[in-house]
């Protein structure tokens, strides 16, 4: 067969790439962490050297100690649990509602054309701007907090799902139809997998905003949660605790994003990555 030699060459190349794997992995780990490590060093050194006021920016070790205290006392777990329950609740609820809804709207073109301007408008209405409305309607309890997260997650998810469905390559639909697929299997076997990458853009956007919005909401009227912890620590002048809360939120955000990116890679690994 023509090209046979080229094919074995490609296979060998892959293998030799695999050989260099541990070294490349190590290099990547260094690349990823070096700047953060440098920043931590500066954070430690600057207050100690008297470059910044230790009251407002305590050294990182002090913050770490405060964090450890919070962890041991069980306060951290409590606040984190409260926050995660709210943001994950709203986030998952948004996924449950907007992905099926988005699939339906996207497939039904006339509907999406009518609805899109409204959805765009609502997406661009900052969730926090209507937080007072939610509090007015739903009170200060859990409901209004989950609702605000739900609201913030709904629109990126919905809009991305709709555009994912609308932008499925018509040629793929044509190809599937030529093999006599029924509309239902066409939807299941072609439309959904083809729009998955775009849906995932929405999922990641929603995941990020679920935490962002929640923390802000918890600063307004709450008696638990990481947002409350930060706000309360600041009022009580427990500055290391405040930073401990802030860092916890950042780390949660990073972990969530990491999990979502990994899930995305697993589900849409067929997509060409241009970075390689």
């Amino acid at each position: 067969m023509a090209g046979g030699r080229g094919e074995t060459l490609i296979l060998q190349e892959k293998k030799s790439l695999n050989w260099g794997w541990p070294l490349a992995q190590l290099r990547k780990a260094i690349k990823n962490s070096i700047v953060i490590l440098a920043m931590l060093v500066i954070w430690e050194a600057a207050p100690r050297a008297g470059l910044v006021n230790t009251t407002f920016l305590p050294p990182v070790t002090e913050v770490a100690a405060a964090w450890w205290q919070l962890l041991l006392s069980g306060d951290l777990a409590e606040h984190m649990g409260a926050s995660l329950a709210r943001s994950m609740g709203g986030f998952l609820l948004a996924i449950l509602i907007s992905i099926p809804l988005g699939l339906a709207i996207g497939w039904w073109k006339p509907v999406s054309e009518y609805l899109n301007p409204l959805l765009e408008l609502m997406r661009n209405t900052a969730a926090l701007a209507i937080l007072p409305v939610f509090i007015l309607l739903l009170g200060l309890g859990e409901t209004s907090k989950v609702a605000i997260v739900l609201y913030a997650c709904l629109f990126p998810l919905l809009l991305n799902t709709i555009s994912g469905v609308k932008n499925v390559d018509p040629l793929l639909i044509k190809s599937a139809r030529s093999m006599g697929l029924s509309p239902v299997s066409l939807f299941r076997k072609v439309i959904i997998p083809a729009s998955l990458p775009t849906i995932f853009v929405g999922i990641r956007q929603a995941g990020a905003s679920s935490i962002l919005v929640l923390v802000a909401a918890e600063m307004v009227g709450a008696t638990s949660g990481l947002g409350y912890l930060i706000q309360y620590s600041q009022f009580s002048f427990l500055i290391p605790q405040m930073y401990a809360g802030i860092i916890t939120i950042s780390v949660i955000g990073v972990i969530l994003n990491f999990l979502l990116v990994n899930l995305e890679k697993r589900l849409t690994g067929w997509k060409q990555s241009y970075r390689e």
């Binding site: 067969m1 023509a2 090209g3 094919e7 296979l11 040629l171 793929l172 044509k174 190809s175 599937a176 139809r177 030529s178 093999m179 006599g180 697929l181 299997s185 076997k189 072609v190 997998p193 083809a194 998955l196 849409t268 690994g269 067929w270 997509k271 060409q272």
Partner: protein
């Protein structure tokens, strides 16, 4: 022999908008196409770019409907797509989230064949198109020619009675193309499938076709049908140097020449290039 496919006075036009905001107008893509393809025949269609070849194939696949006229398969009007016709699209149309093997299995899945059998059949056709070892590659990991071969394997795998092929070998290198040409002839001879094959290569048309239909520039009509009276095509080297082969190639080239320049005037685009460059045409004329 009876007609497997009859295309009767088929017209098709598209609504197009010359510029955004302007009123749409009709553009005739096919005008009064009339063609009968016999059971088990290898019919090749050639014509200038944009003359409506792919449009005609879509109609035969049942993906679109004609504005007027009829398309019959075994005497019955084509109502929609079905697995009795296999289509190889000009732009591969592989599912990017499926591996080569899973792509080939797709049509078999639609046919309701068991998983085990599906896998076996798909493997067989993958190796037939020379892609053994690439079963688990995703389309983005394959070259254009490899994708084209997967698409060919996919349409062969579910064993349709009629194969509709839109420039299936255009993206291949000369050696692979020749291998697949003779492979296709072998499959055709062994299975008795009816094949409608679109190509830009005049050599390929004469080599493969029992008849070659030459289409006019847009709006497409069948300008003339050229009979290719070779009995056996297996020995290609002999065939290409056969004086009859050279004569037929020249005849088709002459028929196409005017249409191509008319299409060029129409569209002011490099249609000649898509015919494999001027060399092919000049060689054909020599």
């Amino acid at each position: 022999m009876t007609a497997k496919i009859s295309i009767r006075h088929v017209q098709k036009s598209f609504r197009i908008r010359r510029s955004p905001g302007q009123h749409s107008e009709h553009q005739h893509a096919l005008s009064d196409i009339h063609l009968e393809v016999r059971q088990g025949e290898f019919m090749v269609i050639v014509g200038p770019s944009g003359c409506g070849k792919s449009t005609l194939l879509d109609l035969l696949a049942g993906l679109t409907r004609p504005d007027s006229g009829q398309l019959l398969l075994d005497g019955k009007e084509i109502a929609g797509p079905d697995l009795d016709r296999g289509i190889v699209f000009q732009q591969y149309a592989l599912f990017p989230w499926k591996t080569a093997l899973a792509n080939v299995e797709f049509g078999l899945e639609a046919k309701g064949i068991s998983r085990r059998e599906r896998r076996e059949t798909a493997r067989h056709y993958i190796s037939l198109v020379g892609l053994s070892g690439f079963e688990h590659r995703y389309p983005y990991e394959l070259s254009g020619g490899m994708k084209q071969r997967v698409a060919i394997a996919r349409s062969l795998a579910y064993d349709p009675e009629v194969l509709l092929m839109d420039e299936p070998f255009a993206a291949l290198d000369a050696q692979t193309r020749e291998t697949l040409q003779s492979e296709l002839l072998r499959i055709w001879e062994a299975t008795g499938k009816t094949i409608i094959f679109i190509t830009h290569g005049i050599d390929e048309a004469v080599y493969l076709g029992q008849r070659v239909a030459v289409m006019s520039s847009r709006p497409g009509r069948i300008k003339q049908i050229v009979d290719i009276p070779f009995q056996s095509r297996r020995n290609e080297e002999d065939l290409r140097s056969n004086p009859e082969f050279v004569r037929l190639r020249h005849e088709i080239w002459e028929l196409l020449k005017d249409e191509v320049s008319r299409a060029q005037e129409q569209e002011k685009q490099k249609t000649l290039d898509s015919f494999g460059g001027k060399e092919t045409l000049l060689k054909g004329g020599a």
